[in-house]
Each structure stands twice: as C-alpha cells, then as structure tokens.
Symmetry: D2
Subunit: 378 residues, 4 copies
C-alpha cells in the first residue's frame, strides 16, 4: 500500500475491503511521505519494519527485487490525488500489478500516458470506482444488457452531498473546513466537485448503460467563499444512440450525505438505484406493477450473484462493494500469476480506460462551463 497512513479515511476503507474475504494480506507499505509517520503506521498495521518504506520509489524497487514468491502481489495506491499518476507509473514500470484509488491522474494527458504503460506492460490495473462494485448495480447493468429496458432514452445521474456546507456558512476566506487538498488545484486538478464525485455518477451511468457520453453542456459553480474550484455542478448530457440526460453533483447540498443515485429510462422499462439503499433496485414498467429487485435472491443475475456474500435480507453495503473491486482484481492477479491473465477488460473492475474517460469528462465539464455552457464533446 502506498499512502493511507494513520487517520486517512480512504486508506482504512481499502484495508477493510481487502481484508474482508481473508484472501489479501497487507505485508508492505509506504504509508506517508513522512518516513516517521510511515513507520508508525506500519506498526499499526502489523507490517514488518523492513517492509515499511520511506518512499514509494524505494518500495517499488525493493519489492521488485525480492524473489517472486515473497514480493507483494500488487500495490494499492491510496496516496494524494496528485501522486496517483507517478506512483502507478513507477510500480507498473517495476512490473507490479496495481489497484489505484481514483482519480487516475490530474489530466487526460497523464491518463493517456498511463493507459499506454498499462497496455504495454500486460499488468493488472484496477481503478477503485467502487460504486460499480455493488451487486444491484451489476444487476442493473444485466437488465440493460438483456434488453429488458428496451432502448435507453434518458439518464438522470445525481451525486448530492452536503458535507462542505459548513465552509460556506463560516464564510472564511480560505474556504474553511474544505480548504484542504480537495480545494487545491495542484492536488485536485482542474475540478473539485465534478472531479471528486461527478466522475462517480458519470462512471456509474456508463457502467450500467454501456453508453458513451458524447457531449455535455455544463454549469459549474463555486459557492464557498475563497474557493478556487467548483463545489457544485450540473450538466445536460447527450449519449451515443440518442439518449439524453441530466447529471449533477454537489458538496453544498445541505443535509445530503452520500446520495449517489441513478435513473435510467428505457422504452420498455426503467430502473432506479440509490447508493444509500444499495440492496434494492427499482424497476418500473408502463403497464405492470413496479418491481423491487433485491440482492441475494434466486432471480438475481450471475454477476450480482458472483459478487454477493450474504443471503437476502442480510444487508451488504459500502465495504462489500469496495471489496468487490478487490475481488475482481484478485481474480485477475491470480490469473496473471498463473499465466492466464485475459486482459484488464475481461474482468469486472474499472480499468485505466475508465479512468481516462473520467479525465475526459472532467476536462469537458470545465471547458463547457468556462464557455458559458456550450455543448462540448468529451
């Protein structure tokens, strides 16, 4: 693991997700750019001192130098956003498989470069767009694929959060509570809100429908005084094949927690899914009763079943969905170790290509908004 030292939220999530199935063990790490902090975190996680590294370069090189059966099977990159690109690049170049927290990079250009490296390396590269790990998201995708929804006409994808609103109310010059790396273009790139959470909504829509988003007309907003990047944004969307849509994300929607949700309207049926009630998928028809598809039932499709751990009524949630990205990556890594790797696209985890598409989405949103909402191609 690179990053994710003491107190880091997403690092802890990755560790729980990786631990869950008892198949992945954390054996080495560089948990902080501060060697002392990295060392202390290593102790917390029961890592041997000699495998707690002070820099990611050192870790990549040292691990790569170990005999194959004792080196790490893959690295989890959970460091600051601006480091993802170079850490991933380093490990890939050292011949080590990668599970990388999103975003892939800070720009589409970096993303393209990484995609080329992944391609030429033949290594496993999984990006933790974790929300597609939910079984009922996979079920939604299966319903679309099966043709049950007919032709997709409209997509509404939302990601309202309210956690940044205290910064608005405190009205401090530097952005208050949110004035951390999320707000620093050097760390977050050209967008905060659309980059951090809008991309999840975009990724979710693409995962479920299989449709490319072709062009958008966006209005990004900054409500928090002193903020340099967007904290809210909405856009009109045009997908390949003629589907239209709306996508919005916000960090100043007071009282919303982590309300990622999506509605996909087809000519024969529609679906609705809410991340905060992830075990249910609502299916609506023109002329028969609305249906609630629930995880863990005999009627679930094979992808949902494959990524389900508990029987119906025993709710699964965020950690399990996250762990499903690891499970899929572990499947690919096991295949790779056994010489049977089928290529990243063959597994059910988000790939470097999803990451590149996310970068294109962010850049198009910013560009459209700066051009006063002009329709902009991804």
């Amino acid at each position: 693991m690179v990053g994710g030292g003491r107190g880091a939220f997403i690092g802890a999530v990755h560790r729980m997700a990786a631990n869950l199935d008892g198949k992945i063990e954390l054996v080495a790490g560089c948990f902080s750019s501060d060697p002392e902090k990295s060392r202390l975190s290593g102790e917390d996680f029961f890592i041997a001192p000699e495998r707690t590294y002070g820099s990611y370069e050192q870790m990549a090189e040292s691990e790569a130098a170990l005999p194959e059966d004792s080196r790490i099977d893959f690295v989890s990159i959970v460091a600051r956003n601006d480091l993802h690109f170079r850490v991933a690049k380093k490990f890939l170049e050292s011949g080590i498989h990668v599970v990388c927290e999103k975003p892939l990079a800070l720009s589409k250009a970096e993303g393209d470069e990484l995609a080329a490296i992944v391609e030429s390396s033949g290594l496993v590269f999984a990006l933790t767009h974790n929300y597609t790990g939910y079984p009922m998201v996979k079920e939604a995708r299966a319903l679309v694929k099966s043709g049950k929804l007919g032709k997709i006409l409209k997509i509404v994808a939302e990601y309202p959060q309210g956690y940044a609103i205290p910064s608005y109310n405190e009205a401090v010059d530097d952005g208050g509570k949110i004035s951390n790396w999320r707000m620093d273009p050097g760390v977050s790139g050209v967008s905060n809100c659309i980059g951090d959470i809008g991309t999840h909504a975009h990724n979710l829509a693409g995962y479920i429908t299989g449709l490319k988003l072709e062009e958008i007309a966006a209005d990004l907003n900054t409500f928090i005084p002193g903020m340099k990047l967007d904290d809210d944004g909405s856009m009109l969307c045009r997908y390949e094949g003629g589907a239209r849509g709306v996508l919005f994300a916000s960090q100043i929607s007071t009282g919303e927690e982590n309300n990622l949700n999506i509605r996909v309207y087809g000519s024969l049926a529609s679906i609705e899914w809410h991340q905060e009630h992830p075990n249910e998928l609502i299916v609506k028809f023109a002329d028969k009763p609305r249906e609630i598809w629930r995880r863990g039932n005999s009627y679930n499709g094979e992808d949902a079943v494959k990524y389900t751990r508990l029987p119906f009524g025993h709710p699964e949630a965020f950690i399990e969905a996250f762990a499903n990205v690891y499970l899929a990556a572990a499947e690919a890594i096991t295949d790779a170790i056994g010489g049977n790797f089928k290529g990243n696209a063959a597994y059910d985890y988000p790939t470097v290509d999803d990451g590149v598409e996310g970068m294109a989405f962010i850049e198009a949103a910013v560009k459209s908004s700066e051009a006063n909402g002009s329709w902009t191609k991804l």
Copy 2:
C-alpha cells in the same frame, strides 16, 4: 363552467374540487363547442336546461344579463388550451370573475394582454396551478420565508411522467396515443411537455422559494416519431440571488406516473417534497436529524393549517389540493361580492401574473433549445 363535458378529465377534477366543501354549486355551463354534447353534459350535471349554453359567448352575455343575485358568481374555464385566452377575456369583459385552468394562453403576448384586462377589471382571476394547493407545499414556502433554510443555493425540480411511452413504442407516424391536441401546436402552442408539465415544476419552485428564474439553458427533445413538439426536456437554471438549479420534465419516462417533486437546498437546511406522497415534507440539516414534517400536526404553519381539512394520518391528496385553489378563489370572490376585494395578489391562489411568467418560461425554454442550449433570459 366552460368546457369539461362528458369524459373530460380535468373538468371532472374541477367539479370534484369545487364540490368538496359544499360551498360552490355548478348552476350553468357551456360544456362543449358542440351544443348537443353541451346539452347532454348539462343534464349529467343537473343543470337547468336554460342555463346550459351552446357557446361561451352566449353564456357570458346571458349570465351577465341576469340579476346579480341569480347570475353565476364566477366561471370555471376548463376548455381546450387554445380557448383559455379568449374565453377568459370574454368573461372578464362581461364583468364575471374567472377561475381558469392552465395554461393561461398560448403565448406570452396573449398572457400580457389578459393580465392587463384583469388589472383594469378589478376582478378575481385564479389560475389552477393546482400543485401549490397542497398544504405541505405551503409549509415548504413558510419554512423558506421564515429563514429556516438560510440562503437558497440550489433548486432541483422534476416532473417525470411516462404515460406517452406507448406512442414511442408503437412508433406510428402520427404519434400514436399522444397524437391529440397536446401534440398540436395550434392547440398547445410552442411546447407540449415543457408547456404542459414543465410549467408546474417552474411554478412550484417559484411558489416555494419566492425566487424569480432569471435564465435557462435548455435541451428539449422529441422522442416519439412523428411528434411535432417536445415530449421531454431538461434545463440548467439560474435564479435571482445566485441560486442555481436543474429542472426537467418528461412524458416518456417509462413507469413514472405523476412524479412532480422538488428539492430546495439552503445554506442552513434543505427541503424535499414529492407530489405522490404529498402529506410529508422532508427537511434536512447539516448537523441534526432529518425531519419529516407531516400535514395536520400542531406544528404546521398557519397557511398549511388554513388549507387542511383532515386530522393527521387521514391522508389528503390531489382533489383537496385542487379544491384549495377554489377555496382561495372563493374567499376572494366572497370578498369581492362584499366589496372587500384586496386584489388578486393578496390571496393564496396562482394569479394571471403566474400565468404570464409561465408563458415567459415556455418561450425561453424553446428559444434556448433552438439556440443549442444558449443561456436565455425569461
């Protein structure tokens, strides 16, 4: 009543709404442009034959000629959309108060003309933007007014319906089932979906927040083959004072029934209301439990209380909300009869000005969409 003969949906709703409180009696009408159909409908409704008229002009003139205590107190206009303007004009010019089904007219120009007539007549004019009749919508407005939400930052107003999707699937050249007056620009004006239901979402947002919608960037769509007008549309919104928003309406959102709903995000709290569950208003905060405000409780504000008929837990719904427009109009008409009319703006019913604003909204949406989504002022 003008319009609303046998089999007409909205006419039946108006009659139930007017009947509900036992204070309004239907005593005269011109129920159809076909005199025979009008006569038969009059029989259905127990109207004296001599007051069942063959034309609205005749009705306006004959009733106006009756002594004050036997003529109608007001007219309800529930005729085809393209007739609203001229029927309303005729009755106003005959000195008769008007309750008019929306839309007010087919263009902003007609709307402006009617507004001037209402103004100069000193008569009551109520437009049945019925959804603002719900007590919990009034409660939402009261919460905004009280400052409990703080500054309004974002508004999401939706009106998805799916009833027209069979026309899409039948793919008939002329638009199939929906190929009626709704689809005829001569009857519906420049827009179908945004005009018919988008205006309700727009009106609701304005009613609750008190904010003017200043400009929009719209994408109107026509999915049904052979359709001349829009059957779906989305737009980005900018409100006075800096609030941003999203508004969409659709008639091809399979499986949606009449899912008008709104979310208003303020700096201190947010509210959410769904027309299909109208007795509840959800209030969300940054740092305390989410609240469900329910109709009929002691904590309801005075406007909600005034327009509530049943105790808590005894649900009220669409008819009661509709009846509340009549109740407010009846209050104004009673005042007017008693010489105490305070002006249309002083009562809690939608006015001709709301109708004019709706017309401006429709025309801006169409103009923006035709200009490829350019930001367009109302």
Copy 3:
C-alpha cells in the same frame, strides 16, 4: 343527516364524501340534540329551515310523510355512538334507507336486533367502515380471491395511533384530553380503543381475506390514569381455515398518526397495505421481485377501477375512500328506488352484518382480556 353539527369532525367528513361526486345533496338534517345548535348548523349547510329538525324522531316522521319525490333518499347517521342504534331503528321503521357511521350499536344484542330489522325492511343499510373503500384494499381482496396468494397462513393487522398520549402525560384524574365521550362506557360501550379502531383492523382483515376470525386471546390495557376503558390492546388471532394472526390497536403509541396497516401472508405470495400510503399495495413473493401495485393502472382489477376517480400518480386518499362507501350505497339506493335492489350483500359497502361481527369482536376481546387472555370464540 342526523348529528354532525358545527365542529363535529366525522360529520364534516361525511359531507365532503357525499358531496364529492356531485350526486348527493344534503337537503335535511337534525344536526344536534340541541335544537338551536341544529338550526344554526342547518344554516351553515344551506338547509331549508323547515327541514332542519330539532329531533331525529321528528325528522324521520316528517320526511317519511313527504311525497316520495321530495323526501330524503336516505339518512346519514353521524350522531354520538350511543344513538346509532335507536336512530337507525327509527329511520328504518320509517321506511328510509340508512348510511350509518360505525359502530353499529353498543352491544351485539342491539346489533342483532338491528340486523333483523334491516333484513325484514328490505332497505339499504350501509355502515361506514370507510377504510375498505380504498381502491387498493379492493385490489388486495381481488388478489386474495384470485388465488394469487395461495392459502392464507398469517395475518398481521395493526392500528396504532398516538393522539391520546397527552392525556397520559398530563396524568389528570379524569383522563385529560381524551376524557370525552370516547371514554364514557355509556357512550362507547364496553371498549374504547378496540371498539373505536380495533374494529377497523378486524373489518379490514375480514374484507381482504374473506376469512372469519374464530377466536382470540386478548390483552387490553388502560394506560391513561383515570380511564375507565381500554386505550390500547393486542390479541392473538385464529381464523377459519387455520390462519393465525396478530391484531393490535392503540391510542397511546406516541407519534403514530392513523397508521392502520395490514399484512396478509399466503403460501404463494403476501400483501402489505398502509392506510397512510393508500395508493400502493406491496406484493411479495418467495422467488421473484417484490411488486408495488399502484392505483389507477391498467392492471388494476375491476373493483379497484370502479372505485377510482383519478389517473395514476394523482393521489387519492381518505375522502375518496369514504366517498366510495357513499357511492356504493347510492348505487343500491338508486336500484331500490328503481325497484331493482339486490340486497345489501350484493353491493360493495359494509353491511349491518359487518357491524354485528364487529360487536362480536369487541365483546370477545373484552371477555378474553378479563379472563386473563383465555382463547375466546367470537
């Protein structure tokens, strides 16, 4: 109308329900046992003074003496519970059809006597067990009848309310706010809570499933200090055919409004319905997605359709359900006037027999509870 003067809740509900469809007109009444109060109420309701009576006996006799085409078609009895029996008896004996608020009487003995009178009179007698008027309750009944649920195994019927809890907290000797007629055995009979609302739950279960409740083991409770009757009660139930169940009702369940709800579990499917969300019926299966059946759709059965006024998504609620009892009664009365009355059991309104069964239910509950929960036959 007998009873229901100024300020009486249930009288107002009956009037709104009867008004709704524009087919019933209130033309005569005895609105209070106080002649002056009756007279003033008559003025409120636009009743001719000569048909505003000072006593129900006088009203029955005077109306019966009028020519057939000018007398009332039926009487609505909304007086105090202890008067229902004798007022109904008087009108039936005067040859006038009756719509009677529940309870039918204060004892099963009175109920039996009234049933005999109804039977011999050949008149229409409808009891306003209003909750069975909801379209989706009729849909539930249709699903059971169709065999879709298989054999009924378990029934859970609940009716928690919390409106009496202030009396508990004020702990006044006389029962505080609830210390009105509800609490007076002379007015309410042997039970308050089970009699007032438990009977609705019992009636609902019987209406939907068609199963007789055979025996119960009950625990009735009095929480409010100074109360002479029950304010809460629960019971175990055994239905004909082997179904088991639970039924409870309460007036001290803090924060519950009017939460009548029922779940019926069958061997093939189960249903769930909540009065506070009356437009939906939840249907659950062992091996396929849960379904939400919604009012107003093409798949609704004929009984639900017959008693539906508005299209899907335009919610109907309490008043419409209440009005459906009147609608069914009006159908029977129209038939009776035309000489085609098919007998009370042939129409879709609760009959005197339902009332008698309610009385048996109340008496069995009280008896069982007094015998420390012994299983007691109805």
Copy 4:
C-alpha cells in the same frame, strides 16, 4: 474456530466479521467433526496443518498447552447448535476466552451451568447476538437511557422471514428444504422458529429498553407438513414496569427476507428500527416533526460513534454489526491479556446472561403455547 468449515454460512460470516478490522487473525481451527473435511477447510483458510484439528477437545487441549504468546487468544464457536454448550465448556475449562454463536445451549439448565462456569473462570465470553451490534441499535438504547422517550409503554418486536415457505408448498412429509438440523429437536432443542429468530427479537427489545420481559402468552404454530417444531409464533408480552407488547417471528411469511424490526413506544417519544435499513432510526413525537437519525452524524451518541467505521451516507450493514461483537470482545480480551478485564458485563457485547435469558424465553414460549396461551413467567 470450531465449526464453520467449507460451505457453512455462519462460519463465513464470523470470519468476515473477524477479518474486517485487520486485528484478528485465524490461526487454528477444528472446522468439522469429519477430520478430513476439517483439514481441507483449514487449507482454504491458510491455517498451518498442525493447527487444523480433528476434534474440538484436541484443539482445546493442544492450544492450551502452547506457550501463552503463541496460543490462540480466543476461540470462535460456530458449530452446530447442540455442540455450543459442550464446546464452550471445554474451552472455558481450558482457560481460553470464548466468542460463541447463539444459541448458548439447548436448555436453560445447560445455560445456567455455563453461566456458572463463565463466572468462576473469569474469562471473556461473548455471544453473537449480532443485531445489537448495529450502531443505530446502540443509538436507540442511548435514546431510551437518556429519558428522551419517557416511560416505555409498548414494545412491538417482529422477525418475519419467508425462506421456509417452499417446504410448505412442496408439502413433503419430512419437511422439505427446511428438513435439516433446524427441524431436529436433537439439534435445535424445544423450538425452531422462536429459538432461532424469536430470540433475536427478544434480545433486541431487552437491549434497547433495558426492560426484563416478565411473562408471555404465546401461540406457536407449525405450518409445514411433517415438521416437528414450530415454524411461526406470536406472543403477547408483559415487561417489568408495566410496558406491554407484541412479539412475533415466522419462517413462513412469504416474501419476507430478514425483516427483524422493532418499535418502542414511550410516553414522550417512540422509536422504530428496521434491520434491512439499519443506518436509520426513526424517532416519533406527539407534537413535533418525526426525525430520522442517521448513522455517522455528529449528533450520534458515543456508543454509536464507537462502533461506526464509515462516514455518513456510506452505508454499513450486517457484517459491520457482526464485527462489532468481535470488536467489543477483542477489547475485553485485550484487557484480559493485559490483566485489566473488567468483567463481561462491562463491555458492549452480549453475555452468557443474555444467552440464559434467551433460553428462559424459549422455554416459557413453548410452555405457554402448550398450555393454550396461558400467561407464563420467564
């Protein structure tokens, strides 16, 4: 770990729960009474062959004989119900801390014996009544303790499941699909449904309210042909201090998944919690808006916070709740290892006393039902 070999559901849950936080490692086990099956399971779980035992006695003795720093810290007992008692006894007598799947034993007599052993041993003993591990259940308990609910008047605890209904429909003599150990009195003791899931509802009610259930009047039912034990049961309840209640559990409630839920009605407020939507706690008041308390918020009490891993809106579920029992047990074991064990009652996990109370509950339910529903003391 004792029990929980390949394919065993609850063993897998225990392992995921124990793995989650990365603080507990599975190092030894006896996974089956069949030594070969135990060995293969040991391989699955990466256990050293010499610590994969063929019998639990051997495991207890061998582990106890290891030096303190290499022996297991505690044992997880997930074997068949009839083995819990003797396995627990053996490990306690070997001086090893125990985490034991419920039920504690097959009778209250066994339970009492085990309680005495735990008491005299001074060892940690945690029973995985896992549903009390949910943070919002802890929040519910905190609300009751704080007095916010006032005096508790009524408790409704439910646990409907429908998974056994196929056995009813197949009507096979031996009980069909459910014809496994659950149906065998030799394995399950005197009750199946009440023993397996009714106890969870009972435990939940006691945990939240702190009230002892004093007496019950029960009706246990067997619907599945050929079944020797109950598959459904309902009871009336009387709690210490005067609260009354209803408790039911069922395995033949078609379409219910794992719908454990509870409502606690107090004189000042009431709470409602549903296991299938565990991140929310509904709080109802007589005179102010209903509240939804959500996990992960700043207003959560200290117990809920202590057992929360993820921020608001990132749902937690079954595994995390289960893991919380392990977390609490780990805290106690760590204290014990450090010589600071404060006694089982001082930690937030279910104890042997909860297990004994569960046994008393089961035996009272069976006894009451056999005595035709007589009120029976626990």
